[in-house]
């Protein structure tokens, strides 16, 4: 039995995914001392603990499954990768959003040529939580833009709201891509406690795809105004990454360790918000336009 300790703000997703796999036991990590009982550590969502705990786990021989959204910078990602190499442990930086059923359906349609050249990716991602969670969700959506528009953004502009009113919990990111493609993402963690909302539209030269909670709502009548509940999609986002991780550990499958280029973009996003400048990609970095 492979014992995997789970940390992060979205542990329930990973715990549910673990139930779908044989020979795997996923359990929340309660404290640093309990880490010793696990073979591997999985981070899902933002991690409240210092990243040092993750580095420590690698150095002590734990395999690592790391949600890209848990990281804050390219430098942080590379220090973890270096530690994993030194400790000869298996590691994967994963982007679970890529494995959501809706995104997979859209990617298949793109790859089949049904939609033509992608022109616009529009994402609304609304939820509740602290500002760290906003950053982690934004990284996931920027990664999706890179995945679906198949390249790094060549330009970006980012804004937030009135700095006196929760600016660190709302961000709007406007991305430009080679060939005229574009993405516009708005993300907030200022919703009241309750359901999240998600909407993704991809417009291509030949067609379009719409993945939308609004469309997938069911209605509940219990007196007063009707309530809308999103139809559940289970923990599919984490089943594939978890399976890849298990295969990497037991050596049954060579696995690519993950694309963390979204982290370079998030640095530029923060610069754009701070300076009010649009940013352009020059070489491997972003500079004011």
């Amino acid at each position: 039995m492979l014992r995997i300790g789970v940390i992060g703000t979205e542990t329930s997703h990973l715990l549910d995914a673990g139930k779908c796999l044989h020979g795997v036991e996923c359990t929340p990590v309660t404290d640093a001392a309990s880490l010793a009982q696990f073979d591997a550590l999985a981070c899902c969502g933002a991690i409240n603990e210092n990243t040092q705990a993750v580095l420590g786990a690698a150095k002590s021989g734990k395999h690592l499954l790391l949600d890209l959204a848990a990281l804050k910078s390219t430098k942080e990602a590379e220090s973890i990768i270096t530690a994993c190499h030194k400790a000869s442990v298996s590691y994967i930086l994963t982007q679970p959003r890529r494995f959501s059923p809706a995104v997979q359906a859209i990617r298949q349609s793109l790859d089949a040529g049904e939609l033509g050249a992608p022109g616009l990716l529009r994402i609304h991602r609304w939820g509740c939580g602290a500002s760290e969670e906003l950053n982690s969700r934004l990284i996931g959506e920027i990664d999706l833009a890179i995945y679906l528009l198949q390249g790094m953004p060549t330009s970006l502009y980012a804004v937030t709201t009135n700095p006196n009113e929760g600016a660190d919990r709302f961000v709007q990111v406007h991305l430009g891509f080679e060939g005229g493609g574009m993405a516009l993402i708005d993300a907030t963690t200022r919703l009241p406690e309750g359901d999240d909302y998600y909407s993704l539209s991809l417009l291509g030269a030949n067609g379009a795809a719409y993945a939308d909670d609004h469309h997938n709502m069911q209605l509940l009548f219990g007196g007063g105004s009707a309530e809308a509940e999103p139809t559940r999609q289970g923990a599919r986002e984490w089943v594939e990454p978890l399976q890849q991780f298990v295969s990497a550990i037991d050596g049954t499958q060579q696995v690519a360790t993950g694309d963390y280029t979204a982290l370079a973009v998030i640095d530029a996003v923060l610069q754009s918000i701070k300076t009010g400048n649009a940013m352009q990609r020059r070489g491997d970095s972003y500079e004011p336009a």
Partner: protein, 381 residues
């Protein structure tokens, strides 16, 4: 100009009706307004005269090839302007200077200085101006009701995704080597057959210019603030005509508004294959107490039948009183010396936002919105 008393019909001159006639038909449907004449300048092109005459015949009213003469001869109080966009403002100014109230088709203009002249002429002559819009669609009214009730608190972000699933001629990339670029006016004249000729005229116009007023009108109505700065990306992604004429058929705009409110507009003419109906049009609002997602098309009923023509919409909008409510709003403004839901200054502000977005799309940088009309008449305090 003789002003009828309240509840008496206001006599209307249709000043050019060369595109899809939804505006004069919307005016005519309200009992307070009566179309009495169609008029245009004598030197308008033959195709314009043909369309004007056809509309006049359908309405059973005369067509006069002299605007000023028609206004005088038929004792009109209102002008309904539905010409090519590049003539909108000139016709409106002429009508306002003759004391007519004006209902004008969108866009206000593709030239901000012309919008300034409209503001000046309407205010100097004390006439009312209504920029045609969709602010009274049932879903938009419902959204306003929810915002006004305070259920989502103070708005801090508003987004409109406005995708028209219509074709605009052959797809981009279809022009064979050696073939000439598509002529914009010719393409728009062809588009008259299916009513998608909102950009008719000699000057090419992208979707931001042709349709941007609708979503920007929603944003104005729901948040009540001016746009101060924009960042935009624009491209010709779908249609050969837009590519050949270097205008956008797909644009994304980040809006930075008064009070720190942030917004976005994503707008495009995305092709008929890209949606089962007219398109995906949604308003997303975030406030201090929650969020709101509104599908602009609703309420709808869905109708399917054997041998249904491919181009026929399966979902049909119902309970849509937009046209009637717009004209009632216009009548009330005239009767009570009030403001219309989208007056000349508001139309000008929207035009300025669009102009700034087009500029930003070219420079790759955020651009300020040129907010104030220049040398506009300033009414006494």
């Amino acid at each position: 100009m003789n002003q009828p008393s309240q509840n008496q019909p206001l006599r209307c001159a249709v000043l050019s009706v060369v595109k899809h006639a939804y505006v004069p038909l919307g005016v005519a449907a309200h009992p307070r307004f009566e179309l009495v004449v169609v008029a245009d300048d004598a030197d308008a092109p033959d195709w314009a005269h043909d369309r004007n005459q056809l509309f006049a015949d359908e309405q059973g009213i005369p067509y006069v090839r002299d605007v000023e003469q028609a206004i005088k001869q038929y004792d009109v109080q209102v002008a309904v302007v539905s010409s090519e966009a590049e003539r909108h403002c000139a016709l409106t100014v002429r009508a306002a200077n003759l004391g007519l109230h004006v209902v004008q088709d969108k866009p206000m203009s593709n030239n901000i200085e012309q919008c300034d002249r409209v503001v000046e002429a309407c205010e100097a002559n004390g006439v009312k101006f209504l920029m045609w819009n969709r602010n009274f669609l049932p879903a938009v009214l419902h959204a306003r009701e929810i915002v006004d009730s305070g259920r989502i608190g103070e708005p801090y972000a508003i987004h409109v995704d406005f995708y028209f699933a219509k074709d605009a001629g052959p797809p981009k990339g279809s022009r064979a080597s050696g073939d000439p670029p598509i002529d914009w006016l010719e393409r728009q004249l062809e588009a008259h057959a299916d009513g998608s000729d909102g950009g008719v005229g000699r000057e090419p116009m992208g979707e931001l210019q042709v349709e941007g007023i609708y979503p920007l009108g929603y944003i104005r109505m729901l948040c009540g603030v001016e746009v101060e700065k924009v960042f935009a990306r624009t491209t010709s992604h779908f249609h050969q005509a837009h590519f050949d004429n270097e205008v956008d058929d797909l644009s994304t705009v980040t809006l930075q508004m008064q009070g720190g409110i942030v917004g976005s507009l994503c707008i495009g003419r995305i092709g008929a294959a890209s949606h089962p109906d007219i398109g995906e049009i949604k308003v997303h609002l975030l406030g201090s107490k929650g969020g709101l997602v509104v599908s602009e098309a609703r309420p709808e009923v869905e109708v399917y039948y054997r041998s249904q023509p491919r181009g026929e919409f399966r979902r049909r909008r119902i309970a849509n009183d937009n046209d009637d409510l717009l004209m009632q709003n216009f009548a009330d403004a005239i009767d009570n010396d009030g403001e219309t839901i989208l007056d000349a200054r508001a139309g000008r502000a929207i035009c300025a936002t669009v102009a700034a977005a087009i500029r930003s799309g070219r420079t790759g940088r955020p651009e300020p919105v040129n907010a104030e009309p220049s040398d506009a008449y300033q009414p006494d305090a």
